[in-house]
């Protein structure tokens, strides 16, 4: 049998040692007869490894991965590059096949990289402390809402309509049963209009930078408004953008969260990625998730260890700050190695080139007759464009796809007043040639549309 090492001979010796005749006897002693399954489950027979890899290749061939073509899709998942060394280190089996580092003496490797991860996440967020990772950006944002409610003892959370729709839905879902309300601040000209949204009952304000339409929000006024109202300010950020844009910490925010996917994590059809969560030291005891700290052993040697565990479910049970246990550690390791591989200069370069490619795309599309939806609003590596109607946006997406170009996410299903608006995103992997091809298709399309 696959992966089971003991032979029939071994098993016979083991059964004899236990003092039973068969494994059947063990189950019979433990599970009432009526509850046992008499027949094998209706699952196809097993395969050998070669058959398995062939079958996987056949099913895989039913996919056409955007990452293998020209990917202008964004809206939360970005086709950034990574280096082979990162992949290689991720596959170190000592990282891959360990678990939560509860025993520090034989887990210093995992503990140290988590500490380094926490440090680098805190650095890019401009914050004082970061945890060991969350499931993803959506659940991290939802946990931030819970933390703000617990901290302020208020029950209203104001979220910008510029947050990713999945993030808004996750926040609403997590807050469903804690007696809180979620209010949305609408968009105007692509950015959040906060007027009248915040009052003395507000626990937190959530803004996404850049927002779901690619627009760059003004951060400092959000932090100031929140502070004046006694609320917490939360920024949901794209970590790559911090190579060029101001950090939430510098803008005065209390909490920064986000998806680590742009930090060299394969898009992987949406997961697993990792979420990050950073805040001020003053709030550390209300933070969700694991934390690693530095202490020392009996000989005074530097030693890493899990700490502040009294916040967590395995100690506090129903009084824990969160129910999270298993997180997305291995993917956080990928983010950790990737950040170290980039360094300050590398992160800035990725941010700049991604933004430059978007600038070139905007110019090329304008020339082709497809304008920005919000020409007055700055963007980073993603922008919203406007065509006549939703059908036009869909038709353009299809026309692009015929040229192996993936892109054009219509946004009207979330923003009914933005009919015909779609987004495109660039990364440092976007080739100038692909922008030319994109513009050529768009021009043909715009001409046809004009001729109708």
């Amino acid at each position: 049998m696959p992966y089971i090492q003991n032979s029939d001979q071994d098993r016979a010796a083991m059964l004899a040692r236990i003092g039973v005749r068969s494994v059947e006897d063990l189950f019979a002693a433990a599970i009432p007869e009526a509850l046992r399954q008499r027949t094998l489950p209706a699952i196809s027979p097993g395969l050998d490894e070669d058959e398995l890899t062939r079958q996987a290749a056949e099913v895989g061939a039913e996919n056409r991965a955007a990452g293998s073509g020209a990917c202008f899709l964004g809206a939360g998942a970005y086709d950034h590059g990574w280096i082979a060394a990162v992949d290689h280190l991720m596959q170190r089996s000592e990282f891959l096949t360990a678990y939560t580092p509860y025993q520090p003496e034989c887990s210093q490797g995992t503990l140290q990289w988590i500490y380094e991860f926490q440090s680098m996440i805190a650095e890019i967020c401009g914050m004082e402390v970061a945890n060991a990772s969350m499931y993803d950006g959506c659940s991290a944002a939802a946990e931030a809402a819970l933390m703000a409610i617990a901290t302020t003892r208020r029950k209203k959370v104001v979220v910008s309509a510029g947050l990713h729709p999945d993030t808004r839905e996750a926040i609403r879902t997590y807050l469903k049963h804690v007696d809180a309300v979620v209010v949305e601040a609408p968009l105007a000209g692509g950015v959040t209009n906060w007027s009248g949204a915040v009052d003395s009952a507000t626990a937190a304000m959530f803004v996404q930078q850049p927002n779901f339409l690619g627009c760059v929000e003004r951060l400092a006024p959000v932090a100031e408004t929140a502070k004046a109202a006694g609320a917490m300010s939360v920024a949901v950020i794209n970590p790559v953008a911090t190579g060029l844009l101001r950090s939430p910490g510098a803008a005065g925010f209390d909490i920064a969260v986000g998806d680590g996917q742009p930090l060299g994590v394969p898009m992987g059809f949406g997961g697993p990625w990792f979420g990050f969560f950073a805040t001020r030291m003053a709030h550390v005891r209300r933070m969700p998730g694991r934390l690693v700290g530095i202490s020392q052993d009996q000989q005074g040697r530097r030693a890493f260890t899990l700490t502040f565990q009294t916040r967590e479910q395995h100690i506090r049970r129903e009084k824990a700050t969160s129910n999270i246990c298993t997180n997305n550690a291995l993917i956080a390791l990928r983010g950790c190695v990737h950040m170290a591989a980039l360094g300050p200069k590398g992160l800035e370069e990725v941010a700049c080139v991604s933004r430059q490619r978007m600038q070139e795309t905007v110019e090329a599309l304008a020339a082709a007759g497809v304008p920005l939806a919000f020409p007055q609003t700055p963007y980073f590596n993603e922008a919203a464009f406007r065509l006549g109607a939703d059908a036009d946006a869909r038709a353009l997406r299809k026309a692009l796809r015929a040229e192996e170009i993936f892109g054009g996410i219509g946004v009207s299903r979330w923003y009914p007043d933005l009919a015909g608006v779609f987004t495109l995103a660039c990364t440092e992997r976007t080739r100038p040639d692909d922008i030319v091809r994109l513009a050529r298709v768009a021009a043909r399309f715009a001409r046809q549309q004009a001729a109708r």
Binding site: G19, V23, A30, Q37, L40, S44, G46, T53, G60, N63, R64, A65, A66, G67, A75, H88, F95, L96, T97, Y99, Q103, C106, Q108, G109, Q112, W113, E116, S119, G126, Y135, C138, D166, T167, K176, H177, V216, G243, L244, M267, G270, G271, P272, S295, Q296, A303, T305, Q313, N323, I324, C325, T326, N327, A329, H338, L342, G343, E349, V350, Q356, F406
Partner: protein, 486 residues
């Protein structure tokens, strides 16, 4: 293990060094058009390090870990079994890793087929037809199921059902998830056989009962023999039964939770289906529910059309979503590969050999240790130090640390809470007889040392990169990142 200290990245950092480069960056051009107050003066102060030193840094760190690939890792309830290497090679391929979550359905038919097949197979194994692959881990699955339960009772006008009963041997995530879903927790005591006590359960059932969360096999490694009666009692009170499937690997292919009367459960794919634990994740915690409860499951779902094509669909009744996108897809893919490779018979052999290995180890360890509830166990069992050991001031923590010294990752310790000084041992089905014999010999040796009051036990471990860590200091003088003065 690598005993030499490894400097931290910030200590290794030297100005001007770097690893990744991207050609064509022009900061001035990139900054044009962006508001000055949203720009930063200098990029974040990440470490500066070359590619070779980066590789060496993390390789050396990896050598400071015990892992399944290096040492026996009998961490109870965590199912630290062999993670097939072939899964890693397959999941890394571009046709999976390069899929954008917002591609057209026509371009992701293979991925949707994988999700559809896996959901179907999980339904078959549990007997529960409504499956969602959305949750990112076990605790996330628990929360999803509790959200389903809330939606169910609200739709029936039974919002007063707000109490969840939980046996005292349960994982901490169970009560923590209840709080998040707005339920009150009432603890049910275990009986003298280590099982959920139907009498105590009965005494706590009432019109406010939303349900019972029960782990089966439980955290003592025992099958809840009265599970059918327990389910009947909860149903008679109008409640539902949630089964924590953390230990499903003990009964996969042998018994179906739906046949017990269970209404909903989660599966930890990183346990039963052997996806890597990755130093603490990622996992995947699909939940399986009865037909009646399926409409409330999180969105989206994978459906197969009459034309044989797969699509993602939202259901209007869904309680919502607890994460982005469609689940931890690359974890789901590994689980799909595992099910395909093993097939029906192979999956049943997983349970059989897990139970055989655990019982074989139990009878050997029982010679020197007190077994909590000593009888045939499932995939794991719990032991504790003898009175003689305690008289020598030897505690579970000393046993754990001495095991490290002898080359074994310790079992889960001080859990479940119902056993004082618990040592919870799960060998898994993939370990060989010799490895189990070696561990049993180490436990026998430690027992002798403990009874004799050998000081080695309090000094252990002495052959690791660090010895016992001062955990109190880490809280008193928090140093959580290198910026805060390391």
């Amino acid at each position: 293990m690598n005993l030499a200290p490894v400097q931290m990245l910030n200590e290794e950092s030297r100005p001007g060094r770097r690893c990744m480069r991207t050609r064509g960056a022009d900061r001035r051009k990139a900054a044009t058009g962006l508001p000055a107050e949203e720009l930063r003066a200098a990029p974040p102060a990440l470490p500066e390090i070359g590619e070779l030193d980066l590789l060496r840094h993390f390789t050396r760190l990896s050598q400071k870990n015990f892992a399944i690939s290096t040492n026996f890792y009998p961490l109870g309830s965590c199912t630290m079994k062999y993670n097939p290497v072939v899964h890693e090679a397959t999941a890394a391929r571009a046709e999976w890793a390069g899929l954008h979550p917002w591609q057209d359905a026509a371009d992701v038919q293979g991925a949707l087929r994988v999700m559809h097949d896996l959901a179907r197979d999980l339904a078959e194994l549990t007997g529960l037809p409504g499956v969602t692959l959305h949750p990112a881990a076990g605790a996330h699955g628990e929360l999803s199921a509790l959200m389903v339960l809330r939606a169910h009772y609200e739709a029936r006008g039974e919002s007063q059902r707000r109490t969840i009963l939980i046996p005292d041997s349960a994982h901490g995530t169970n009560p923590a998830s209840c709080t998040l879903a707005g339920f009150q927790v009432v603890t049910i005591h275990s009986d003298e056989r280590g099982l959920c006590d139907p009498a105590d359960l009965k005494a706590h059932l009432g019109p406010d009962t939303a349900g019972l969360m029960i782990t089966n096999p439980n955290t003592l490694g025992l099958f809840e023999e009265n599970i059918a009666e327990i389910c009947r009692l909860v149903h008679a009170a109008g409640g539902k039964v949630y089964m924590d499937g953390a230990n499903f690997n003990a009964i996969v292919g042998v018994a179906r939770p739906a046949d017990f009367g269970v209404d909903m459960m989660h599966l930890n794919l990183h346990k039963t289906m052997s996806t890597p634990h990755g130093g603490g994740g990622p996992g995947a915690g699909p939940i399986c529910v009865t037909e009646e409860l399926a409409r409330w499951l999180p969105n989206p779902r994978v459906v197969k059309g009459k034309d044989g094509k797969y699509a993602l669909e939202d259901c209007a009744d869904s309680f919502g979503r607890l994460r982005g996108w469609h689940g931890n897809f690359l974890v789901l893919l590994r689980a799909w590969l595992y099910v395909k490779r093993l097939g029906a018979e192979g999956l049943r052999r997983v349970a059989e050999n897990a139970v055989l290995n655990a019982n074989y180890l139990r009878v050997q360890v029982a010679q020197h240790w007190r077994i909590a509830y000593d009888r045939v166990c499932m995939h794991e069992f719990v032991v504790r130090p003898t009175r003689g050991m305690k008289e020598q001031d030897v505690h579970t923590i000393d046993v754990a640390k001495r095991l490290i010294e002898l080359g074994f990752h310790p079992p889960t310790v001080y859990f479940p809470l119902v056993v004082n000084e618990a040592i919870m041992i799960e060998p898994t089905e993939t370990e060989s007889k010799e490895t189990l014999d070696g561990f049993a010999a180490a436990m026998a040796q430690i027992a002798r040392e403990a009874e004799a009051g050998d000081p080695a036990l309090h000094a252990a471990p002495r052959n690791t990169p660090v010895g016992r860590v001062d955990e109190a200091r880490a809280v008193k003088e928090p140093r959580l990142c290198w910026q805060c003065g390391s």
